[in-house]
């Protein structure tokens, strides 16, 4: 029995009838359809669970694959290359030739000489007349020796062009690596490029096809961009004295070209070169902070020294201080300061690698 089923008066009847009528106030079909349309629009319908699971599974698989790839790239490099140091070469990935002796004679025609382990200092590769040989140098670099050329490895395991012409192709080096090749008293340092080194009885020459190289002698350096050439005397000290004699007697005892610098090449001042050398020494001693300090000071200046230091700052920050974000910022700064800098390509590549 309901409340007020038997009303006592008109008021109670009014209440009961009102309550009974209110039970049928359910809204019309049209209004409900309208509301549903709005509700369905407002509420973002979740995807079916199976679909969501598939999305999560694929996302997890992608992440795993990315992590695997990263680990492979990262640890492959770490295990296949020795501890990186600036201005030294990657260890060749092959073993010494059987019966490593003072020299190795090469057969005629261009061929790849397989190296099976680190080259012993003093080991020599020579080509005879009509012979050409391609030598794997490690780190993906190759040297193609022309006829009547010889190549050896110095005490720091750097390849050294003793005589003749060597065409070198150096791929972009792994993070932290610089590739160096010596020619007489000069050290040619690159990050990734193609160039040619030729050593005659009296002169050493470098022709750059791609990239940027630096030719160092003691604390003096000359930077060469693609298309530029440089040559200097094989024996600079003798050349210096000979040139003074030549000035007096105009005799032919002087070197063919006493250390001329190409018009486009940018020499680094000795003070700057010394600063860079100091920074490098500090870095090799493990004092990255000191290297950064020296380079920061140098980078505040102008010219190629500042440019070089600005690039190196990013390099050290990335690979020695292990601060990739800060390194990218420093390289960005370099790009803004030197939009057409010689190390612009290297900077771009370094940023891409870091990112």
């Amino acid at each position: 029995m309901k409340w007020l089923d038997e009303p006592q008066d008109e008021a109670e009847r009014l209440v009961r009838e009102g309550l009974d009528l209110a039970k049928h106030r359910l809204g019309d079909e049209l209004m409900h359809r309208r509301v549903w349309a709005k509700v369905a629009e407002a509420v973002e319908m979740p995807e079916p669970r199976s679909k969501r699971r598939w999305v999560w599974t694929s996302a997890a698989a992608t992440l795993l694959a990315a992590a695997g790839l990263f680990a492979y790239v990262r640890f492959y490099r770490v295990t296949s290359l020795p501890t990186p140091t600036v201005a030294t070469n990657p260890t060749p990935s092959t073993a010494p030739l059987p019966g490593t002796s003072a020299s190795t004679a090469i057969g005629s025609g261009t061929e790849v000489v397989p190296l099976e382990s680190e080259r012993a200092p003093g080991h020599v590769i020579r080509t005879r007349e009509g012979e050409r040989v391609r030598v794997a140098l490690g780190g993906g670099a190759t040297a193609e020796l022309e006829e009547k050329s010889s190549m050896t490895w110095d005490s720091q395991h750097r390849p050294a062009i003793e005589k003749g012409i060597a065409h070198l192709a150096v791929p972009h080096q792994p993070p932290g690596w610089r590739f160096s090749v010596t020619a007489g008293p000069y050290v040619v340092t690159v990050v990734g490029t193609k160039f040619e080194v030729h050593v005659s009885n009296r002169t050493v020459g470098v022709d750059v096809t791609e990239g940027v190289v630096e030719v160092w002698r003691n604390s003096h350096a000359t930077r060469l961009a693609a298309g530029e050439s440089w040559d200097g005397p094989l024996y600079p000290d003798e050349a210096a004295s000979a040139s003074s004699e030549a000035a007096a007697s105009a005799s032919s005892a002087a070197p063919e070209r006493p250390q001329p610098l190409p018009a486009t090449a940018k020499p680094l001042s000795s003070v700057t070169a010394r600063s860079l050398q100091e920074a490098e020494t500090a870095l090799q001693a493990g004092d990255a902070a000191k290297a950064v300090e020296i380079l920061s000071r140098t980078a505040q200046g102008t010219g190629p020294a500042a440019e070089n230091a600005a690039y190196e700052l990013g390099h050290i920050t990335r690979y020695n201080l292990n601060r990739p974000r800060q390194a990218v910022a420093l390289w960005d700064k370099y790009r803004n300061r030197f939009p057409n800098g010689l190390l612009r390509t290297e900077t771009d590549l370094s940023i891409v690698e870091t990112l």
């Binding site: 009528l21 039970k23 509700v39």
Partner: protein, 192 residues
């Protein structure tokens, strides 16, 4: 008249099992289940909102807001109460909130604009009894009104009402008793 003498109309709509299955399907993202749930409970929500004094021009939006709240919080529904009870709880809170805002607006209008509150009538409801009932329900405080509506119109038991409004069953009975008395008094005043 003791509590046991009260009777209630049977709860319209689905069984508990069907609701449980519907909730599971909705949680699984079944759009058809969402629509079924809406179709099942939209009329009830509309009726409940009407009885709680949501005016006709706001009713459609109110139902919409209530269902959006239901859909968004369905993942938190633990199944301890009936689905209908849970939906009534959301609807009651929303309707009371709307009523509070409406009263605040009316007070502002009266005090600031010196305007008399217009009597809102539902053009679709031509029934005089319904209009009279709304006026009588409007005299009740929200808590008593909610209990009366849930019991007399929605047909919920005292236990279910206590779940909806969050108070003990005895309080429900007490509020219902007072609400009924006040309703009859208001009706008598209006009739005279």
């Amino acid at each position: 008249m003791g509590p046991n003498q009260y009777t209630k109309t049977p709860l319209p709509g689905p069984t508990v099992i069907a609701d449980t299955e519907l909730v599971q399907a909705c949680r699984g993202g079944d759009v058809v289940a969402w629509r079924s749930l809406y179709d099942r409970y939209a009329p009830l929500v509309h009726r409940f909102a009407s009885a709680l004094g949501v005016p006709a021009e706001e009713r459609e939006d109110a139902v919409q807001d209530i269902f959006i709240a239901v859909f968004r919080s369905l993942k938190h529904f633990r199944g301890e109460a009936q689905l209908s009870t849970w939906i009534y709880r959301i609807a009651a809170r929303h309707a009371i909130r709307l009523g509070r805002r409406r009263r605040a607006r009316e007070t502002m209008r009266v005090t600031m604009m010196k305007e008399k509150t217009p009597i809102v009538t539902d053009p679709s409801e031509r029934s005089t009894q319904l209009a009279t009932l709304d006026r009588m329900l409007g005299k009740l405080p929200p808590k008593k009104r909610t209990v009366l509506v849930l019991f007399e119109i929605e047909g919920l038991s005292a236990k279910e009402i206590s779940d909806v409004v969050g108070c003990p069953e005895n309080t429900v009975w007490s509020r219902l008793h007072h609400a009924r008395s006040e309703m009859v008094k208001a009706a008598r005043r209006m009739a005279s």
